[in-house]
Amino acid sequence: MPTRLSLVFAALILTAVVAPGLARGQNAVAPVAPTGIPNPGTELSATQRRQLQLLIESDETLRTQVREGITAELIGQRRREMEQEQSKFFADQKQFVLIAYGIMWALVVGFVVFMFLRQRKLEGEIASLEARIKAATQAGSGPA
């Protein structure tokens, strides 16, 4: 039969063994937020850059990954630039076609309008001269 004293010892031992385990479990569930790691896109401080450089230099796999990441980023950037250049080039090409077509129409319409105005002016002059000739002929053939 366990005595009261042995039960107290058992409770103390259990507390000593289980409590740290429970504490570790709590840590695993809710880890303490690391400090000093910047968000993506923010500028690194000189110390952080140095630490990163040391880390990259010490790890071959990380070095390869960083190199591949930078290369992919540069390729993506160049591709975006090329796409922008290409869309500008095609927009310019369309503009050239439209300008040429517009000039062609303007020349044709301008020429036709010029001819129309010239024809109207000539017809006016012809009508005026005909009237003068008619009047002169009638005056000449009238009674002296």
Partner: protein, 231 residues
């Protein structure tokens, strides 16, 4: 005294129909050109081809017509041929202006330069300047300028083959004459529609311009008659 009947177009209906066809065609043409495929190594500016080339053909046609009519005028001394030559020369100037503006715009888009001093471009420019010279002589030449202008018209017509074969005679950057015969079948409808529309336009402008020439001749005859009466 000169003929004083009113100078109207005898039957305006074919004229109006042709004008409507030409107008509608020039609205449809960009759609046809847009749907036609691009040749290898060419960019969107290649679409200028569909009105640059037919306008050059029309310029050639106008200058040849001017030269032939000038030759007949010199042989027969019939004013109708002179008026026909005069109308053709004016049209050659118009279509030459289209060639000389659409060409450099295409050159700028494709070669990054508006102008290159090479045989096809320079000979085309000279041909256009001959047409302009004809018109200027007719406008400011004074008495006897009809025969001088007729000589210029013949000279221009003789120059046309030289311009056409300039890409074979000299080393040029301009596309060769083989482009059209070897054209993709899907590009032909747009090109030939455009050529047909330019010929309709040529005919329409020619008839209107010839009428203008007749009116001018009539006015000159009336002025002489008025001077005789006043004297």
């Amino acid at each position: 005294m000169a003929e004083t009947k009113p100078d109207k177009i005898a039957n305006p209906i074919p004229f109006i129909i042709a004008a409507v066809i030409a107008g509608a065609g020039f609205i449809v043409l960009p759609l046809m050109a847009f749907r036609a495929p691009l040749p290898d190594g060419m960019f969107f500016s290649q679409k200028i081809f569909y009105y640059h080339v037919p306008s050059a053909w029309t310029m050639f046609l106008a200058i040849i017509t001017c030269g032939v009519c000038s030759g007949i005028y010199l042989a027969k001394r019939d004013d109708r041929w002179d008026q026909a030559a005069q109308a053709s020369a004016a049209i050659a100037v118009l279509f030459g202006a289209i060639v000389m503006t659409t060409g450099p715009i295409w050159a700028k888009a494709h070669w990054s330069k508006y102008w290159i001093w090479e045989a096809r471009l320079v000979s085309s420019l000279l041909l256009w300047m001959i047409a302009i010279a004809y018109v200027l002589v007719r406008r400011y030449g004074g008495p006897g300028m009809e025969r001088l202008a007729a000589g210029i018209g013949i000279f221009g017509a003789v120059d046309v083959p030289l311009v056409y074969w300039s890409t074979q005679l000299w080393r040029t950057q301009h596309p060769q004459n083989t482009v059209v015969p070897t054209l993709d079948n899907r590009m032909r409808p747009a090109l030939y529609t455009s050529a047909l529309l330019f010929i309709i336009l040529f005919t329409l402008i020619y008839s209107v311009r010839k009428r203008l020439g007749r009116s001018r001749a009539r006015l000159e005859a009336l002025e002489l008659a008025a001077e005789d009466l006043e004297a």
